[in-house]
């Protein structure tokens, strides 16, 4: 008895490879986000660790034009939902929100970009860390712990889409990869290309074998 020939495997493989190539090309055509501005506060220390509801505002900030995200130096193992509002003269000019579950020493919150820069804005953020500790990192203010009104200055950065695509940055990135490893050098990229090329070749061979 002959096994029925499985249809479509070659076509699926060809289509998958085309889609994969396109996806990589489109991704690398994008631009990495760059820091458009910051409040120049250093992430020197965690000046406050908080649990429960927290709301705070930090004034005298500069919001660059086209800022598509704001990065706050909040530290958490399993961060709560964070809401950010940017106010000018008590009037809301943009806002954003990041869902719970983030981790690391800062959190990036997408913002609705503005076509123009605005100076002297107030950045307000709030979160409810019910069973979690969130650290606020930046520079403590002298006497801040006593006053409770101003604990410290939080490090804030504003991100916007970069102007260079990953394609144009490729040589720079591959150059960076040659440093800080064992056996540094330009051999690393060809090695990775050959190794992943071999993986791709094996994947294609195995795919074609599935049909038999």
């Amino acid at each position: 008895m002959n096994r029925p020939q499985a249809p479509g495997t070659r076509a699926t493989l060809a289509l998958s490879l085309i889609l994969l190539t396109l996806a990589i090309a489109v991704t690398l055509s994008g631009s990495p986000a760059i820091v458009a501005g910051s409040n120049s506060v250093q992430a020197a220390e965690t000046f406050e660790s908080t649990t429960g509801y927290f709301a705070g505002c930090q004034g005298n900030e500069f919001l660059p034009r086209d800022a598509s995200a704001i990065r706050l130096s909040l530290d958490s193992a399993l961060g709560p939902r964070v809401k950010v509002r940017v106010l000018k003269d008590k009037r809301l000019i943009t806002s954003g929100e990041r869902g719970a579950g983030w981790t690391a020493a800062d959190v990036t919150i997408p913002l609705r970009p503005l076509a123009h820069a605005v100076s002297g804005v107030e950045v307000c953020f709030q979160f409810l860390a019910a069973n979690e500790t969130v650290g606020l990192t930046g520079e403590p203010v002298a006497g801040g712990k006593q006053s409770k009104r101003e604990l410290g200055l939080l490090k804030v950065e504003y991100l916007q889409p970069g102007h260079s695509s990953w394609w144009s940055l490729a040589s720079e990135v591959t150059g960076h990869m040659a440093f800080g490893h064992a056996w540094n050098g330009a051999w690393l990229i060809p090695f990775l290309a050959i190794a992943m090329g071999a993986v791709l070749a094996i994947a294609c061979w195995l795919s074609l074998r599935l049909a038999r």
Partner: protein, 494 residues
């Protein structure tokens, strides 16, 4: 007779399908790539694991202090030079990438190459771990004697990468034993596991988890083989050896043991007549091997300060939070949506998706390297499709499931044991920290089951379209891996 015995291993190896070897090769190559892409020490706890090996190499004894951040002088200098602490947990900070920084590292290495290195006796969280993996890592460590810390670390990472190859091989063979009906589906499951980015990321680093994944896959394979072909003295002894190796590799393996014990009990009860006596003898031998290993672990003192909490800490945890019910509720919510009547231990967080699913989709580095949010949402679609296909196969083959209920219960108990172990460890830090140990890497000892589920999903498309769906699955997992690598490259070198 001697010749026959000598040929036996080669005969066994020859019986392994070519596809299985290729999956192993893929896993090794992939983990090797990850080992070069991920900057040194930018994998959770890697500095501590390196310190453990260095402590063994310098003194011949395991570390005794859990103090973190106190390393031998050469490692401390390397960590300083490559800016480990500056980069760690700070996604906006890149790895070193200027000539000046590179020359500084080289100058430091040259300056201190012949300086004596003093062991500190500390290896942070790794102190609690059993010594087998670290003892094996002594081989690449010594091979890199003439090189720098970074050279040694890379050689050690390559040994872990080889273990990824073993993991993929065992997973493929497990799928073949557990789902023998459809040959091409073995390849789908085996390849998907081999190219899983989290396996590549973790096995491209110095961590005992690389070996744990391989041993856990071997445990599933041994049990599947015994369920399919019956328990023999050799197989019983082999299971004992695997348990022993697992216990000497990483304490998380303990979570799999209740399920394995259930499996062995079922297998022994199935035997009749004189073979039963022989098996009892074999199980006795296996138990003796196991007991010897437990004693060895106890002698090294690792159990007394386990990373997952000492018995005292566990008791404190229970009393602190009132009841076993509280712990059970927490562990449930650690993985699954809260049930009515449970206190909300993870407010605002859908743990199943946000911790475990998103973690498997992509969370690299020191949990600081993530995809854009839309990727996790988009990943739900193929995941849902695969889940539905898998369920379809299970439904259409439900008669076969019933006849293999004991085997399925064994795997389920092994999984539950591991999940409860990790959840309990997380609970000891609660409520100060909710979601400690909430990292998807802790689920990878269950890769064998993931491979089987993916093989079932491919079969769910039916005999006619199954291979085409299988091809798309292979390509999907390959794409996932490639984009994960690109994301890590962008984060550290972009």
């Amino acid at each position: 007779m001697t010749g026959a015995l000598a040929r036996a291993p080669w005969t066994l190896l020859r019986r392994v399908p070519r596809e299985a070897w290729l999956c192993a090769l893929v896993a090794f190559l992939n983990a090797t790539c990850w080992s070069f892409i991920t900057p040194p020490f930018q994998v959770p706890d890697e500095p501590d694991h390196y310190a453990y090996v260095e402590q063994l190499a310098l003194t011949g004894t395991p570390p005794s202090s859990e103090v973190s951040g106190t390393y031998a002088s050469d490692e401390a200098r390397a960590l300083q030079d490559i800016g480990t602490y500056r980069v760690r947990l700070q996604p906006e900070d890149r790895a070193i990438f200027t000539n000046v920084e590179e020359r500084q590292i080289e100058a430091d290495f040259t300056l201190t190459k012949n300086a004596p290195v003093q062991a500190t006796g500390a290896a942070g969280v790794a102190t609690a771990e059993p010594p087998l993996y670290y003892a094996l890592e002594l081989i690449p460590y010594e091979l890199g004697e003439s090189g720098t810390v970074l050279d040694r670390l890379e050689l050690m990472r390559l040994l872990s990468a080889a273990m990824a190859g073993l993991t993929a091989l065992f997973v493929f063979l497990f799928i073949r034993e557990a789902l023998p009906g459809v040959r091409w589906a073995w390849t789908v499951g085996g390849f998907a596991v081999a190219i899983t980015p989290m396996l590549g990321f973790m096995s491209g680093a110095v961590t005992p988890e690389a070996m744990l994944y391989a041993v856990a896959a071997a445990a599933f394979l041994c049990l599947a083989r015994a369920f399919r072909c019956g328990l023999t003295p050799k197989r019983a002894a082999l299971i004992g050896v695997v348990i022993a190796v697992g216990l000497l590799t990483k304490l998380n393996f303990v979570g799999l043991i209740p399920g394995m014990a259930l499996g062995l009990t079922v297998l022994v009860r199935r035997l009749r007549g004189p073979s039963r006596t022989r098996i009892y003898r074999a199980v006795g031998i296996a138990a003796a091997i196991l007991a010897g290993c437990v004693v060895a672990v106890l002698l090294t003192g690792v159990v007394s300060h386990s990373a997952f909490g000492s018995p005292e800490a566990t008791v404190r945890g229970i009393t602190k939070h009132g009841s076993l019910l509280g712990r059970a509720s927490y562990i449930w919510q650690f993985y699954l949506p809260r049930l009515p009547g449970m206190p909300n231990d993870f407010p605002g967080i859908f743990t199943t998706r946000q911790i475990w699913f998103n973690g498997l989709v992509g969370l690299y580095g020191w949990l600081d390297t993530v995809f854009p949010n839309w990727v996790y949402a988009a990943a739900l679609l193929p995941a849902l499709a695969l889940a539905l296909l898998c369920l379809r196969t299970l439904f259409t083959r439900r008669a076969a499931l019933r006849s293999r209920a004991a085997e399925i219960c064994t795997y389920a108990l092994m999984s539950a044991g591991l999940l409860i172990l990790v959840g309990s460890a997380s609970y000891t830090g609660f409520p100060q920290i909710a979601g400690g140990y909430a990292e998807s890497r802790y689920l990878l000892p269950l890769l064998a089951l993931m491979g089987a589920a993916l093989a079932l999903a491919a079969r769910g498309a039916g005999r006619r379209w199954g291979p085409a769906v299988g091809v798309s699955m292979l390509m999907l997992f390959l794409a996932h891996d490639i984009f994960s690598q690109l994301q890590v490259i962008a984060r550290y070198y972009g």
